[in-house]
């Protein structure tokens, strides 16, 4: 009895150096993967751009100027102007807000809905599991974008609805992932041990199962966010997301498509912004995966 009591204490006493070595390991990993560090830095840069849009943009993204219609990039308008004489740079900067908001919030929604459902399905198994999983299968059979288009049609086009639609479209992935992880984790000895000690279901799920699957969920989130950012752009491009004149990268590309021969710069920058942001998220996510999942791929 006394041995089992001292073991955790000994572990606790060791935890500060353990924490340090984890940091050291993270640093080593980071040095081995400079691309991921750059990716993470660019993501942070975009976050800063979203927050600081009013100061960075320089001019009003909605301000039309009929004397400056479709002007090629100059010093005053580094990214050129669009068909209504608005500054493309300002619109790209403000568009960061919309993309970030849609990309991150939709995945937060998918996690908020998907993880509890997957947790319950994997933990209790049986009929409840079957019901949830058959619904998930059916939900997954609708291609992501078609599902999102359908949901936006029902709810009406707007940024909020596009975000909800993308989130609900991504939900089944999280249900499946969580359930699979829970099935594996719930069978572990420490969970069985905690159960034997009298821990209730809620405590088992929140204290023993969930903390052990968080890192996998986090990795999945870094994969889903760029997908969601692109999905928002696609919906806006199709006219089902953010409505003009609000500056969204997708809507900007929709307009740009009509002026490819006379004002190609209108198409360069918003697309480049989506590409850069998605790529940075993916690079950062790759690094995070290596950090949290020591399996060597």
């Amino acid at each position: 009895m006394s041995r089992s009591a001292t073991a955790p204490t000994a572990l606790l006493a060791q935890s500060p150096p353990g924490e340090l070595s984890r940091l050291a390991r993270a640093w080593r990993q980071a040095r081995r993967r400079p691309a991921s560090v750059v990716g993470a830095a660019i993501v942070l840069l975009f976050v800063a751009m979203a927050i600081g849009a009013p100061w960075i943009a320089g001019s009003d993204p909605m301000q039309t100027d009929w004397k400056q219609v479709r002007k090629a990039p100059t010093l005053a308008h580094p990214f050129g102007t669009d068909d209504l004489g608005r500054d493309t740079f300002a619109r790209v900067v403000w568009g960061t807000r919309i993309s970030m908001q849609a990309g991150v919030l939709s995945i937060v929604l998918a996690i908020a809905v998907g993880v509890p459902l997957g947790l319950v399905a994997g933990f209790y198994r049986g009929a409840l599991d079957q019901t949830i999983m058959r619904l998930t299968d059916a939900w997954l059979a609708f291609p992501f974008l078609i599902l999102a288009i359908g949901l936006v049609t029902i709810m009406g086009p707007s940024l909020t609805n596009a975000t909800i639609a993308i989130g609900l479209g991504a939900t089944p992935t999280y249900i499946r992932l969580t359930r699979g992880l829970v099935l594996a984790t719930a069978a572990e000895d420490y969970v069985q041990g905690a159960r034997a000690l009298g821990a209730g279901d809620l405590r088992l799920m929140s204290r023993h199962v969930l903390p052990n699957i968080v890192s996998s969920l986090l990795v999945q989130a870094t994969i889903s966010i760029p997908v969601a950012i692109i999905a928002e752009a696609v919906l806006s491009f199709l006219g089902l997301g953010v409505q003009p004149p609000a500056p969204s990268w997708g809507t900007m590309l929709n307009t740009a498509q009509q002026f490819l021969d006379t004002a190609p710069w209108m198409a360069w920058w918003p697309g480049l912004a989506i590409f850069t942001l998605a790529l940075s998220f993916n690079l950062a996510g790759d690094g995070l995966r290596d950090l949290l999942d020591p399996r060597d791929y």
Binding site: L140, I146, G150, A233
Partner: protein, 320 residues
């Protein structure tokens, strides 16, 4: 084995049933009165009532659902409101175009992804690996509609080599057909190639570290023989599964690509039917899309278990 097939088929039937419920309720949740749309803009209240009566739109919802499913099972998905053509006929004229597009892009994707993935795995942690992985990451991150716009900008607007949009049936002029399909197929193909390459690389790395590969090497076989005769074949099994699961992504991609390149295929039909509130068409098209996804993946799963008896599913190996 037989049990597995039955179980797998039963799950698919349940899934199809749930899909039909989702589609049916979903379409009924689209704002607007279908009877009013069906009757046309000039109809008065009595006209709308007559249409409601004729199509049974006033019946209780479960009755409407059962009637719809019964007809759908016989291949009757109703008629488009706009064109008055049968939904099945409309789909039958549009689908071949998208299937051609899908095959072309599949061809491009597999042609790029498998060699690149194998090369990256065999020459792991070299410049080749970094190049291939980098390209794959870029392929996942690039928004395909922007890639499409950039291709049009470069090849159509700047160079004038390829027509920016439109469609010519293959039997009218194969050359013109390919000229118009090559850019959309490339756009669709890159996204798929990125995913496939990653999967090929990972599974190839796993296979290359298996015991039987070591045995093959240690009995003195040349590296090329080991890779081509022993490793590739086994490493492609999971890749085939991914291909099945990517069908949905391919459909999503087709929606956008066909929109940009004005290809009159199935993807464009979906968007048009949604925008014009053509309820029977939306209902039919979405039902067909989701059902074919289920059936294709059933097929993939079954052929997978036939090919690889190790993964015959008792319920544990397949979870995730």
């Amino acid at each position: 084995m037989f049990d597995f097939l039955v179980q797998r088929a039963a799950i698919s039937v349940v899934t199809l049933f749930v899909i039909s419920l989702i589609v049916f309720t979903g379409v009924r949740m689209i704002p607007g009165d279908p009877a009013r749309v069906l009757a046309g803009t000039e109809a008065d209240a009595a006209g709308i009532e007559a249409v409601r009566e004729k199509y049974g739109l006033g019946d209780p919802i479960p009755v409407q659902y059962l009637r719809w499913v019964a007809l759908a099972l016989r291949g009757d998905l109703g008629h488009s409101i706009r064109t008055r053509e049968s939904v099945i006929h409309t789909v039958a004229t549009k689908l071949p175009i998208t299937i051609e597009l899908a095959f072309l892009s599949l061809f491009i994707a597999v042609g790029i992804a498998i060699p690149a993935g194998v090369l990256a795995a065999v020459r792991r942690n070299t410049l080749w690996d970094m190049l291939a992985s980098g390209a794959s990451l870029g392929g996942v991150s690039i928004p395909n509609f922007w890639l499409g716009i950039m291709l049009i900008l470069f090849f159509s607007v700047q160079l004038g080599w390829l027509p920016a949009s439109g469609f010519v049936p293959i039997w009218e002029s194969p050359l013109d057909n390919v000229k118009r399909m090559i850019m959309p197929a490339f756009v669709l193909g890159t996204a798929l190639a990125a995913v496939l390459m990653r999967q090929t690389r990972n599974s190839m790395i796993e296979v290359m570290s298996a015991d039987y590969i070591r045995t093959a090497y240690s009995k003195g076989l040349a590296g090329r023989v080991v890779v081509f005769r022993h490793a590739i074949r086994n490493s492609l099994i999971p890749v085939v599964t991914i291909l099945g699961l990517q069908m949905g992504a391919l459909m999503s991609g087709a929606v956008v690509t066909e929109q940009i390149f004005v290809v009159p295929g199935f993807g464009r039909l979906i968007v048009e039917s949604v925008f014009t509130r053509d309820y029977p068409l939306v209902q039919g098209v979405v039902l067909i899309t989701a059902s074919s996804y289920v059936l294709i993946n059933l097929l993939v799963d079954v052929s997978y278990s036939l090919l690889n008896p190790r993964i015959r599913i008792g319920g544990t190996a397949r979870e995730s």
